[in-house]
Symmetry: C2
């Protein structure tokens, strides 16, 4: 008789955004006259940039002709895209990454969920609290996290690194040494960043204790301030301890187009074994490449027009972030984030729980946000709003919240 993966049964409830989706759907059905504004899920609203659209059409036409048709893509992704990444995401910042250290994928969510598969079951992970749920959930599924304690909202075998107002939402080095450390900067959900010097401390720590850092840099394009690292490879010694995950979802609106990449340096080893080889093997066995059409579209982001146009999109969203941040501040809310990240993190008023505030905001302002507690126990009492709406709806949402 077949046996299921019992670890799945340990997962409390459904994936955060599915729950939010259901709640909003129910409210909308019961209140068809209300105009709901969604600032919850981190989904973009601007159409793809013209340079990307042009590249898509060209690639589609290539797929229509025998002479230019493309079948299976190379395992790691097309050389033209990996070269552009190596050149423009890394070399331009003084970092040398070889093209065979870059693995093109269908996005950062898949990669950040799948990367744990190349590690043994007996690794202890450390995560920020609050945190993007995928890091923890994928490790739960793999049986690495112990048991879930309903009262604390914590897993018995996970090291939590609190990110609170007190430490400016920047985690401190854990007291117990982890094996795998998940870091995300600019941070989802808090919008916080750390400086290059602070990140260097993490790299030094990881090298010292033999931990590997899974560095999620999905929001690097939103960095506006100096001295905030765009890649962990700006830090000395990072190639012996860090894997970096990148996305085109937020910097180029690819949420529904699906493209991203992961860097696994060849210097990153466990004994003689390169993690690069393990990830290459997983990529070759459990994945079959991102579509050629999407990789061609991804390369267009690196063209002069593409860069200019996606920069404008980011500026548009960051203006929304400003509207949210300043609007909420003027309404007396305590807010952070929104300067180097498209996320605004606010304290719920009147000691409401995160889900109470979610319901309150949905019912009274018809605005959807994300309850902070959905990201971990230390997210309780907080709430996330995203800057990915349209300017008009963002403005209206904030006006509605202000008039509550």
């Amino acid at each position: 008789m077949f046996k299921i993966n019992e670890n799945y049964l340990k997962l409390p409830g459904s994936y955060l955004f599915s729950t939010i989706g259901k709640k909003v759907k129910e409210y909308a059905l019961a209140n068809p006259d209300k105009k709901i504004i969604r600032l919850g899920i981190g989904d973009v609203t601007l159409p793809l940039a013209p340079a990307v659209i042009d590249a898509l059409h060209v690639a589609v036409d290539e797929m229509a002709r025998k002479e230019t048709f493309k079948g299976y893509a190379p395992d790691l992704g097309y050389e033209f895209l990996r070269s552009a990444i190596a050149e423009q995401d890394y070399k331009s910042r003084g970092v040398t990454i070889a093209t065979d250290e870059i693995f093109v994928s269908d996005g950062a969510k898949s990669d950040s969920a799948n990367i744990q598969e190349i590690f043994g079951e007996n690794n202890k992970i450390a995560v920020c609290d609050p945190v993007y749920p995928v890091y923890v959930d994928s490790n739960v599924m793999a049986g690495r996290t112990g048991e879930y304690l309903v009262d604390s909202g914590k897993w018995t075998n996970v090291i939590y690194m609190p990110c609170t107002k007190e430490n400016n939402f920047a985690p401190e080095l854990p007291k117990e040494n982890p094996d795998i450390i998940y870091l995300c900067f600019p941070n989802n959900p808090t919008g916080a960043t750390i400086t290059k010097d602070e990140l260097q401390k993490w790299v030094d720590y990881a090298n010292k204790v033999g931990a590997v850092i899974i560095y999620d840099a999905a929001y690097e394009a939103y960095i506006s301030e100096e001295n905030i690292p765009h890649t962990i490879y700006e830090c000395d010694g990072s190639k012996t301890c860090a894997i970096e995950i990148r996305s085109y979802s937020k910097n180029a609106g690819f949420t529904g187009t699906r493209l991203g990449f992961t860097v696994v340096p060849k210097k990153l080893k466990c004994g003689d074994v390169m993690l690069n080889s393990l990830w290459a093997r997983r990529h070759g066995t459990k994945f079959n490449g991102a579509p050629y059409i999407m990789q061609a579209a991804g390369a267009a982001i690196y063209s002069e027009e593409g860069k200019k146009q996606t920069k404008e999109q980011i500026a548009y969203y960051m203006n929304n972030a400003k509207v949210i941040r300043e609007g909420l501040k003027s309404a007396g809310y305590c807010v952070s984030g929104g300067v180097n990240a498209p996320y605004i993190w606010l304290e719920t008023p009147r000691s409401l729980t995160s889900w109470e505030f979610f319901d309150y905001l949905l019912s009274n302002a018809n605005v959807v946000g994300t309850p902070g507690s959905g990201f971990g126990p230390n997210g309780e009492g907080y709430f996330r709003l995203t800057a990915f709406g349209t300017y008009e709806s963002t403005l209206e949402a904030i006006e509605r919240i202000k008039s509550l």
Copy 2:
């Protein structure tokens, strides 16, 4: 100190097709004047059908306008595609599959590799021998297969079901009861099929012993004979024991476009737990949907034009299959397959091993095929050719082989 997934180190060599790719590359570099014909990997050569191209352009234009732009896709896939699948792949064959039993993905390779994740580690798998390597390799990575025995080319904890000339390449029910049974019909690599009555025996067996069947029906569009089931759900009782994996790679040329789907019936349970819920959870946590553009292209396959055009593509490839099959027969080879499948399975001549014949064919006819031993111990002494080349190159390849 972090620990790697030691199971990866057990995998012998690299993924079969990477090895072939390297060998061919080396030969081509050393012999730049030779025109190599590739009938090895199952990659298609015809461009995408005009109906698919049109749908791609329309979808790209939708992504260019604010009003029609699509962000994150629904977890299970767009309703429009799942409805088309339910209607045209199943209802048309008298099978009722609900749309929430269908999970759209980036292809059958990913799904067939990932599906094992929802099962516990302590399941014993049964596979045909020879077999598509992904089923075994993904289970090796998950630690389910025991140790690899170099001499026999077998894993200690896998049940092998020999498919040889003696049993007409159709597996017999195993003597030891497995928990998970992988079946693929029409078969890759042998091109063999089984009748509906024969498949019914497998369904009855699985229900009796409490096994689950992972049914890979990626090649169903190539079935030309009557009484060969197009889906396992044509069999009585299949919904309590079978998961079906389907692909658009071979029936519509989507190898480099990436789209497929998996059906997990809600009746398929372990105790109270629906496998459908587990797969939904995995889909929602470790995957972020297939691109909207690709799902729109997938739906176009179900249009009248799309059906007509993809049927013509299949006829084109099946004509190649005939050329290969009859050409090799007339040259004295012992061949099977190629009637309901795009694969031709031949016995190597003069007791050559599969890899010896690979080298012989590459060097003397400049034709690339796939060594049967790469698919399992019982593939030794066999060789796979695919019908996915152009008509002209297929014809030339066979002429070259005939004149050896």
